[in-house]
Protein backbone atom coordinates (compact mmCIF):
# COMPACT_ATOMS: atom_id res chain seq x y z
CA UNK A 1 0.00 0.00 0.00
CA UNK A 2 1.46 3.34 -1.04
CA UNK A 3 0.63 6.89 -0.09
CA UNK A 4 1.83 10.25 -1.32
CA UNK A 5 4.38 10.12 1.47
CA UNK A 6 5.74 6.98 -0.14
CA UNK A 7 5.80 8.86 -3.41
CA UNK A 8 7.83 11.61 -1.74
CA UNK A 9 10.20 9.05 -0.28
CA UNK A 10 10.65 7.30 -3.60
CA UNK A 11 11.39 10.56 -5.37
CA UNK A 12 14.13 11.19 -2.82
CA UNK A 13 15.49 7.68 -3.13
CA UNK A 14 15.42 7.93 -6.89
CA UNK A 15 17.99 10.70 -6.82
CA UNK A 16 20.14 9.56 -3.93
CA UNK A 17 23.79 9.48 -4.83
CA UNK A 18 23.39 11.51 -7.99
CA UNK A 19 25.95 14.28 -8.35
CA UNK A 20 26.55 16.69 -11.21
CA UNK A 21 29.95 17.30 -12.73
CA UNK A 22 29.26 20.99 -13.18
CA UNK A 23 32.07 23.17 -11.91
CA UNK A 24 32.16 26.83 -11.05
CA UNK A 25 34.90 27.44 -13.62
CA UNK A 26 32.75 25.99 -16.38
CA UNK A 27 29.71 28.00 -15.33
CA UNK A 28 31.76 31.17 -15.21
CA UNK A 29 33.25 30.54 -18.66
CA UNK A 30 29.83 29.94 -20.17
CA UNK A 31 28.41 32.99 -18.48
CA UNK A 32 31.21 35.07 -19.99
CA UNK A 33 30.35 33.90 -23.48
CA UNK A 34 26.67 34.48 -22.80
CA UNK A 35 27.31 38.08 -21.78
CA UNK A 36 28.99 38.77 -25.12
CA UNK A 37 26.35 37.04 -27.21
CA UNK A 38 23.68 39.72 -26.79
CA UNK A 39 25.80 42.76 -27.74
CA UNK A 40 27.45 40.80 -30.55
CA UNK A 41 24.06 39.86 -31.99
CA UNK A 42 23.05 43.51 -32.01
CA UNK A 43 26.34 44.55 -33.57
CA UNK A 44 26.15 41.88 -36.26
CA UNK A 45 22.57 42.86 -37.07
CA UNK A 46 23.64 46.47 -37.42
CA UNK A 47 26.58 45.58 -39.63
CA UNK A 48 24.73 43.02 -41.75
CA UNK A 49 23.92 45.38 -44.67
CA UNK A 50 27.53 46.55 -44.88
CA UNK A 51 28.82 43.00 -44.67
CA UNK A 52 26.47 41.89 -47.43
CA UNK A 53 27.68 44.65 -49.74
CA UNK A 54 31.28 43.84 -48.88
CA UNK A 55 30.77 40.19 -49.65
CA UNK A 56 29.17 40.95 -53.00
CA UNK A 57 32.10 43.17 -53.95
CA UNK A 58 34.59 40.53 -52.89
CA UNK A 59 32.86 37.86 -54.96
CA UNK A 60 32.85 39.84 -58.23
CA UNK A 61 34.89 38.39 -61.13
CA UNK A 62 38.28 39.96 -61.60
CA UNK A 63 41.45 40.08 -59.66
CA UNK A 64 41.54 37.57 -56.82
CA UNK A 65 40.80 39.08 -53.46
CA UNK A 66 41.39 37.64 -50.06
CA UNK A 67 38.40 35.65 -48.99
CA UNK A 68 36.64 37.23 -46.04
CA UNK A 69 36.74 35.06 -42.98
CA UNK A 70 37.81 34.79 -39.40
CA UNK A 71 41.45 34.81 -38.51
CA UNK A 72 42.89 31.39 -37.72
CA UNK A 73 44.85 30.91 -34.55
CA UNK A 74 47.14 28.16 -33.30
CA UNK A 75 46.03 26.79 -30.00
CA UNK A 76 46.72 23.94 -27.61
CA UNK A 77 43.64 21.80 -27.61
CA UNK A 78 43.19 19.64 -24.53
CA UNK A 79 42.28 16.60 -26.64
CA UNK A 80 44.91 16.70 -29.36
CA UNK A 81 47.56 19.21 -28.35
CA UNK A 82 48.73 21.69 -30.99
CA UNK A 83 45.92 22.56 -33.36
CA UNK A 84 44.87 25.26 -35.76
CA UNK A 85 41.48 26.76 -35.01
CA UNK A 86 40.08 28.22 -38.22
CA UNK A 87 37.42 30.42 -36.68
CA UNK A 88 34.76 28.88 -38.94
CA UNK A 89 31.79 27.45 -37.13
CA UNK A 90 29.72 24.40 -37.97
CA UNK A 91 26.20 24.17 -36.67
CA UNK A 92 25.50 26.54 -33.84
CA UNK A 93 28.88 26.93 -32.28
CA UNK A 94 31.30 24.13 -33.08
CA UNK A 95 34.64 25.36 -34.33
CA UNK A 96 36.45 23.79 -37.26
CA UNK A 97 40.06 23.01 -36.42
CA UNK A 98 42.92 21.01 -37.86
CA UNK A 99 45.55 18.99 -36.08
CA UNK A 100 48.29 16.57 -36.93
CA UNK A 101 47.82 12.92 -36.17
CA UNK A 102 51.03 11.02 -36.95
CA UNK A 103 50.44 7.32 -37.21
CA UNK A 104 53.54 5.21 -36.54
CA UNK A 105 51.77 2.15 -37.95
CA UNK A 106 51.41 3.61 -41.43
CA UNK A 107 54.73 3.89 -43.21
CA UNK A 108 55.64 4.68 -46.78
CA UNK A 109 59.18 3.92 -47.93
CA UNK A 110 60.15 3.32 -44.34
CA UNK A 111 58.92 6.68 -43.13
CA UNK A 112 56.01 7.39 -40.89
CA UNK A 113 53.21 9.05 -42.76
CA UNK A 114 51.63 12.05 -41.17
CA UNK A 115 47.93 12.61 -41.37
CA UNK A 116 46.07 15.83 -41.02
CA UNK A 117 42.69 15.65 -39.42
CA UNK A 118 39.81 18.04 -39.38
CA UNK A 119 37.78 18.15 -36.22
CA UNK A 120 34.96 20.01 -34.53
CA UNK A 121 35.19 21.35 -31.03
CA UNK A 122 32.98 23.53 -28.91
CA UNK A 123 34.46 26.91 -27.99
CA UNK A 124 35.40 25.81 -24.50
CA UNK A 125 37.11 22.69 -25.87
CA UNK A 126 35.02 20.42 -23.70
CA UNK A 127 33.64 18.41 -26.59
CA UNK A 128 35.51 17.13 -29.59
CA UNK A 129 34.67 15.22 -32.75
CA UNK A 130 36.88 14.01 -35.55
CA UNK A 131 35.88 14.56 -39.16
CA UNK A 132 36.29 12.08 -41.96
CA UNK A 133 38.04 11.45 -44.25
CA UNK A 134 41.55 11.87 -42.90
CA UNK A 135 43.78 13.93 -45.15
CA UNK A 136 46.90 11.87 -45.81
CA UNK A 137 49.88 14.07 -46.53
CA UNK A 138 52.35 12.78 -49.07
CA UNK A 139 55.55 14.82 -49.19
CA UNK A 140 55.69 16.77 -52.41
CA UNK A 141 52.08 16.04 -53.33
CA UNK A 142 51.26 19.08 -55.40
CA UNK A 143 47.66 18.32 -56.23
CA UNK A 144 45.31 19.80 -53.69
CA UNK A 145 43.14 17.31 -51.89
CA UNK A 146 39.76 18.75 -50.99
CA UNK A 147 36.99 17.66 -48.64
CA UNK A 148 33.56 19.23 -48.39
CA UNK A 149 31.60 19.61 -45.21
CA UNK A 150 28.11 21.05 -44.75
CA UNK A 151 28.29 23.90 -42.29
CA UNK A 152 24.95 23.06 -40.70
CA UNK A 153 23.43 26.36 -41.85
CA UNK A 154 22.86 25.57 -45.52
CA UNK A 155 26.37 26.41 -46.69
CA UNK A 156 29.46 24.43 -47.56
CA UNK A 157 32.97 24.44 -46.17
CA UNK A 158 35.71 23.24 -48.54
CA UNK A 159 38.98 22.36 -46.85
CA UNK A 160 42.08 20.52 -47.93
CA UNK A 161 45.83 20.28 -48.09
CA UNK A 162 48.59 20.71 -50.61
CA UNK A 163 52.20 19.59 -50.13
CA UNK A 164 53.75 23.04 -50.51
CA UNK A 165 54.73 25.38 -47.73
CA UNK A 166 53.08 28.80 -47.72
CA UNK A 167 50.98 28.02 -50.79
CA UNK A 168 48.27 30.31 -52.09
CA UNK A 169 45.10 28.56 -53.16
CA UNK A 170 42.66 30.16 -55.58
CA UNK A 171 39.11 28.85 -55.72
CA UNK A 172 37.06 29.44 -58.86
CA UNK A 173 33.29 29.06 -58.44
CA UNK A 174 30.73 30.14 -61.04
CA UNK A 175 33.23 32.37 -62.80
CA UNK A 176 34.30 34.05 -59.61
CA UNK A 177 37.70 33.58 -58.04
CA UNK A 178 38.55 34.03 -54.42
CA UNK A 179 41.61 33.28 -52.36
CA UNK A 180 41.11 30.56 -49.79
CA UNK A 181 42.28 31.00 -46.24
CA UNK A 182 45.59 29.23 -45.77
CA UNK A 183 47.77 28.36 -42.82
CA UNK A 184 50.38 25.98 -41.57
CA UNK A 185 49.35 23.37 -39.09
CA UNK A 186 51.55 23.15 -36.00
CA UNK A 187 54.02 20.32 -36.35
CA UNK A 188 53.38 19.72 -40.04
CA UNK A 189 56.21 21.08 -42.22
CA UNK A 190 55.98 21.87 -45.94
CA UNK A 191 52.24 21.53 -46.06
CA UNK A 192 49.55 24.17 -46.40
CA UNK A 193 46.03 23.64 -45.22
CA UNK A 194 43.32 25.75 -46.83
CA UNK A 195 39.61 26.30 -46.37
CA UNK A 196 36.79 28.38 -47.69
CA UNK A 197 33.16 28.85 -46.72
CA UNK A 198 30.65 29.29 -49.52
CA UNK A 199 27.12 28.68 -50.71
CA UNK A 200 26.09 25.93 -53.11
CA UNK A 201 25.31 22.22 -53.14
CA UNK A 202 27.64 19.55 -51.93
CA UNK A 203 29.67 17.42 -54.30
CA UNK A 204 28.38 14.05 -55.31
CA UNK A 205 29.28 11.28 -52.89
CA UNK A 206 31.86 9.97 -55.31
CA UNK A 207 33.64 13.27 -55.28
CA UNK A 208 33.02 13.74 -59.00
CA UNK A 209 30.96 16.85 -59.67
CA UNK A 210 29.09 15.25 -62.56
CA UNK A 211 25.49 15.63 -61.49
CA UNK A 212 23.37 18.57 -62.48
CA UNK A 213 23.07 19.65 -58.84
CA UNK A 214 26.81 19.92 -58.39
CA UNK A 215 28.71 23.14 -58.75
CA UNK A 216 32.01 23.14 -60.60
CA UNK A 217 34.74 24.32 -58.27
CA UNK A 218 38.38 24.58 -59.34
CA UNK A 219 41.15 24.72 -56.75
CA UNK A 220 44.50 26.03 -57.95
CA UNK A 221 47.58 26.03 -55.72
CA UNK A 222 50.48 28.40 -56.27
CA UNK A 223 53.81 28.41 -54.51
CA UNK A 224 55.38 31.42 -52.84
CA UNK A 225 56.68 32.71 -56.19
CA UNK A 226 53.18 32.63 -57.70
CA UNK A 227 53.79 29.68 -60.00
CA UNK A 228 51.00 27.17 -60.34
CA UNK A 229 52.01 23.91 -58.68
CA UNK A 230 48.77 21.96 -58.97
CA UNK A 231 45.05 22.16 -59.44
CA UNK A 232 41.99 19.98 -59.09
CA UNK A 233 38.27 20.11 -59.56
CA UNK A 234 37.79 16.91 -57.58
CA UNK A 235 36.48 17.20 -54.10
CA UNK A 236 35.31 14.53 -51.75
CA UNK A 237 32.25 14.94 -49.69
CA UNK A 238 32.93 14.42 -46.03
CA UNK A 239 31.15 11.20 -45.14
CA UNK A 240 30.64 11.73 -41.50
CA UNK A 241 32.06 12.40 -38.13
CA UNK A 242 33.94 9.69 -36.35
CA UNK A 243 32.36 8.50 -33.19
CA UNK A 244 35.70 7.47 -31.73
CA UNK A 245 38.08 9.73 -29.85
CA UNK A 246 41.39 10.74 -31.38
CA UNK A 247 43.63 7.69 -31.33
CA UNK A 248 46.73 9.35 -29.97
CA UNK A 249 46.11 11.79 -27.14
CA UNK A 250 49.09 14.04 -26.47
CA UNK A 251 51.73 12.72 -24.15
CA UNK A 252 50.92 13.39 -20.54
CA UNK A 253 47.33 14.25 -21.27
CA UNK A 254 44.60 12.17 -19.69
CA UNK A 255 42.42 10.10 -21.94
CA UNK A 256 39.55 12.40 -22.84
CA UNK A 257 37.12 9.50 -22.91
CA UNK A 258 34.66 8.72 -25.65
CA UNK A 259 33.73 11.43 -28.07
CA UNK A 260 30.17 12.46 -28.65
CA UNK A 261 28.19 9.57 -30.01
CA UNK A 262 26.89 10.25 -33.49
CA UNK A 263 25.62 8.11 -36.27
CA UNK A 264 27.89 7.44 -39.24
CA UNK A 265 26.94 8.75 -42.63
CA UNK A 266 25.83 12.27 -43.27
CA UNK A 267 27.47 14.59 -40.77
CA UNK A 268 25.16 15.36 -37.93
CA UNK A 269 25.42 18.01 -35.34
CA UNK A 270 24.57 17.91 -31.71
CA UNK A 271 21.34 19.59 -30.65
CA UNK A 272 21.84 23.22 -29.69
CA UNK A 273 22.03 23.98 -26.05
CA UNK A 274 19.22 25.92 -24.48
CA UNK A 275 19.56 29.44 -25.76
CA UNK A 276 19.40 32.37 -23.37
CA UNK A 277 16.11 34.09 -22.93
Amino acid sequence: MYTVDDLRQQLVEETEGLAPRVTFARVKARAGRRRWRGPLTVAVAALAPALAVGTLVAMQPGAPRPAPGPTPSPTAHPFVGPALVTGLTVGDEELLLFHRAPDPNIRIDGESRAELRGALSDPSHERFRELRPVLVILPGSLTPRVVELPDGRGGVIDYGVVGVADARVEVAVDGRTVIANTARVPGVPDVTVFWISRDGPLAEPTGVPSGPASTAVLFTARDASGAVVGSTDQRQRGDGIQASPPPYPPDGEPDPGPAISVSPGTPTFRPPTVSPS
Partner: protein, 176 residues
Protein backbone atom coordinates in the same frame (compact mmCIF):
# COMPACT_ATOMS: atom_id res chain seq x y z
CA UNK B 1 20.14 30.07 0.44
CA UNK B 2 21.23 33.43 1.80
CA UNK B 3 24.34 34.96 0.39
CA UNK B 4 27.26 35.55 2.74
CA UNK B 5 28.07 39.22 3.06
CA UNK B 6 31.80 39.16 3.60
CA UNK B 7 33.11 37.72 0.31
CA UNK B 8 33.14 38.73 -3.35
CA UNK B 9 30.45 37.78 -5.85
CA UNK B 10 32.46 34.89 -7.29
CA UNK B 11 33.17 33.44 -3.87
CA UNK B 12 29.53 33.87 -2.94
CA UNK B 13 28.39 32.12 -6.08
CA UNK B 14 30.93 29.32 -5.67
CA UNK B 15 29.61 28.73 -2.16
CA UNK B 16 26.07 28.83 -3.47
CA UNK B 17 26.97 26.30 -6.15
CA UNK B 18 28.56 23.89 -3.74
CA UNK B 19 25.44 24.04 -1.59
CA UNK B 20 22.81 23.96 -4.31
CA UNK B 21 24.15 22.27 -7.44
CA UNK B 22 23.37 18.78 -6.16
CA UNK B 23 19.78 19.67 -5.30
CA UNK B 24 19.25 21.38 -8.64
CA UNK B 25 20.74 18.45 -10.48
CA UNK B 26 18.43 16.01 -8.72
CA UNK B 27 15.42 18.11 -9.64
CA UNK B 28 16.66 18.21 -13.23
CA UNK B 29 17.10 14.46 -13.20
CA UNK B 30 13.54 13.90 -12.00
CA UNK B 31 12.28 16.21 -14.72
CA UNK B 32 14.24 14.58 -17.53
CA UNK B 33 15.23 11.10 -16.32
CA UNK B 34 18.40 11.50 -18.35
CA UNK B 35 21.70 12.15 -16.61
CA UNK B 36 23.23 14.03 -19.54
CA UNK B 37 20.23 16.27 -20.09
CA UNK B 38 19.96 16.88 -16.39
CA UNK B 39 23.54 18.02 -16.23
CA UNK B 40 23.10 20.32 -19.21
CA UNK B 41 19.94 21.72 -17.69
CA UNK B 42 21.62 22.28 -14.34
CA UNK B 43 24.58 23.98 -15.92
CA UNK B 44 22.39 26.30 -17.98
CA UNK B 45 20.35 27.24 -14.94
CA UNK B 46 23.52 27.98 -13.00
CA UNK B 47 24.95 30.02 -15.86
CA UNK B 48 21.87 32.21 -15.89
CA UNK B 49 21.86 32.47 -12.14
CA UNK B 50 25.52 33.53 -12.21
CA UNK B 51 24.76 36.15 -14.84
CA UNK B 52 21.94 37.53 -12.71
CA UNK B 53 23.75 37.08 -9.41
CA UNK B 54 24.20 40.81 -8.65
CA UNK B 55 20.52 41.41 -9.32
CA UNK B 56 19.11 38.73 -7.05
CA UNK B 57 17.80 41.22 -4.56
CA UNK B 58 16.32 38.97 -1.93
CA UNK B 59 19.39 36.77 -1.93
CA UNK B 60 17.45 33.57 -2.43
CA UNK B 61 19.65 32.18 -5.16
CA UNK B 62 18.31 28.68 -4.87
CA UNK B 63 14.71 29.71 -5.51
CA UNK B 64 15.87 31.78 -8.46
CA UNK B 65 17.94 28.95 -9.92
CA UNK B 66 15.19 26.42 -9.32
CA UNK B 67 12.66 28.58 -11.14
CA UNK B 68 15.03 29.03 -14.08
CA UNK B 69 15.71 25.32 -14.20
CA UNK B 70 12.04 24.37 -14.27
CA UNK B 71 11.25 26.92 -16.96
CA UNK B 72 14.30 26.01 -19.02
CA UNK B 73 13.07 22.45 -18.97
CA UNK B 74 9.69 23.59 -20.30
CA UNK B 75 11.32 25.65 -23.07
CA UNK B 76 13.76 22.88 -23.88
CA UNK B 77 11.01 20.34 -24.14
CA UNK B 78 9.02 22.53 -26.51
CA UNK B 79 12.07 22.88 -28.71
CA UNK B 80 12.80 19.18 -28.71
CA UNK B 81 9.25 18.43 -29.77
CA UNK B 82 9.93 20.27 -33.01
CA UNK B 83 12.96 18.27 -34.02
CA UNK B 84 13.96 14.69 -34.56
CA UNK B 85 16.14 13.46 -31.78
CA UNK B 86 17.56 10.04 -32.54
CA UNK B 87 19.37 8.19 -29.81
CA UNK B 88 20.96 4.82 -29.58
CA UNK B 89 21.29 4.83 -25.82
CA UNK B 90 18.82 4.05 -23.15
CA UNK B 91 18.42 6.67 -20.45
CA UNK B 92 21.02 6.29 -17.77
CA UNK B 93 19.89 4.76 -14.53
CA UNK B 94 21.58 4.85 -11.20
CA UNK B 95 23.81 1.93 -10.49
CA UNK B 96 22.38 -0.95 -8.57
CA UNK B 97 22.84 -0.38 -4.88
CA UNK B 98 22.39 -2.39 -1.75
CA UNK B 99 18.65 -1.76 -1.62
CA UNK B 100 16.37 -4.79 -1.45
CA UNK B 101 14.96 -6.00 -4.73
CA UNK B 102 11.47 -4.87 -3.86
CA UNK B 103 12.61 -1.31 -3.36
CA UNK B 104 14.42 -1.38 -6.68
CA UNK B 105 11.32 -2.65 -8.44
CA UNK B 106 9.25 0.06 -6.81
CA UNK B 107 11.70 2.74 -7.93
CA UNK B 108 11.70 1.44 -11.47
CA UNK B 109 7.94 1.39 -11.50
CA UNK B 110 7.85 4.95 -10.27
CA UNK B 111 10.31 6.07 -12.91
CA UNK B 112 8.31 4.38 -15.63
CA UNK B 113 5.09 5.83 -14.30
CA UNK B 114 6.51 9.34 -14.14
CA UNK B 115 7.70 9.02 -17.71
CA UNK B 116 4.14 8.40 -18.80
CA UNK B 117 3.08 11.78 -17.44
CA UNK B 118 3.11 14.86 -19.58
CA UNK B 119 5.89 17.37 -19.05
CA UNK B 120 3.67 19.67 -17.03
CA UNK B 121 2.19 16.90 -14.96
CA UNK B 122 5.62 15.53 -14.11
CA UNK B 123 6.90 19.00 -13.30
CA UNK B 124 3.98 19.58 -10.96
CA UNK B 125 4.56 16.25 -9.22
CA UNK B 126 8.24 17.04 -8.74
CA UNK B 127 7.46 20.53 -7.46
CA UNK B 128 4.78 19.31 -5.08
CA UNK B 129 6.32 16.13 -3.74
CA UNK B 130 10.07 16.53 -4.19
CA UNK B 131 10.48 20.26 -3.68
CA UNK B 132 7.55 20.40 -1.25
CA UNK B 133 6.17 23.54 -2.85
CA UNK B 134 2.58 24.55 -2.31
CA UNK B 135 0.24 24.67 -5.25
CA UNK B 136 0.50 28.46 -5.28
CA UNK B 137 4.31 28.35 -5.18
CA UNK B 138 4.29 25.82 -8.00
CA UNK B 139 2.05 28.07 -10.05
CA UNK B 140 4.35 31.02 -9.38
CA UNK B 141 7.45 29.06 -10.40
CA UNK B 142 5.87 27.78 -13.58
CA UNK B 143 4.24 31.09 -14.39
CA UNK B 144 0.81 29.53 -14.79
CA UNK B 145 -2.55 29.92 -13.08
CA UNK B 146 -3.29 28.14 -9.83
CA UNK B 147 -6.10 26.27 -11.51
CA UNK B 148 -3.71 24.93 -14.12
CA UNK B 149 -1.51 23.48 -11.40
CA UNK B 150 -4.50 21.97 -9.61
CA UNK B 151 -5.83 20.30 -12.71
CA UNK B 152 -2.40 19.01 -13.76
CA UNK B 153 -1.85 17.71 -10.25
CA UNK B 154 -5.18 15.90 -10.21
CA UNK B 155 -4.57 14.39 -13.65
CA UNK B 156 -1.09 13.23 -12.66
CA UNK B 157 -2.32 11.50 -9.50
CA UNK B 158 -5.13 9.92 -11.44
CA UNK B 159 -2.67 8.51 -13.97
CA UNK B 160 -0.35 7.26 -11.25
CA UNK B 161 -3.24 5.64 -9.50
CA UNK B 162 -4.20 3.58 -12.53
CA UNK B 163 -0.65 2.89 -13.67
CA UNK B 164 -0.17 -0.89 -13.79
CA UNK B 165 3.21 -0.62 -12.10
CA UNK B 166 1.92 1.55 -9.31
CA UNK B 167 -1.64 0.41 -9.01
CA UNK B 168 -1.79 1.08 -5.31
CA UNK B 169 0.25 4.26 -5.17
CA UNK B 170 -1.46 7.26 -3.60
CA UNK B 171 -4.45 5.16 -2.75
CA UNK B 172 -4.57 6.75 0.65
CA UNK B 173 -4.25 10.26 -0.76
CA UNK B 174 -7.87 11.18 -0.32
CA UNK B 175 -7.92 9.97 3.26
CA UNK B 176 -4.55 11.50 4.19
Amino acid sequence: MRRPESSGPDEQFAAFMSASAHRLYRVAYLLTYDAGQAEELTQNALVRTYTAWPRIVDGDGYAYARRILVNLHSDWWRRLLRRERPTDRLPERRAAGPDPADAAVARTSLAEALRQLTRRERTVIVCRYYLDLTEQQTADDLGVALGTVKSAHARALRKLRVDPGLSTVVEKQETA
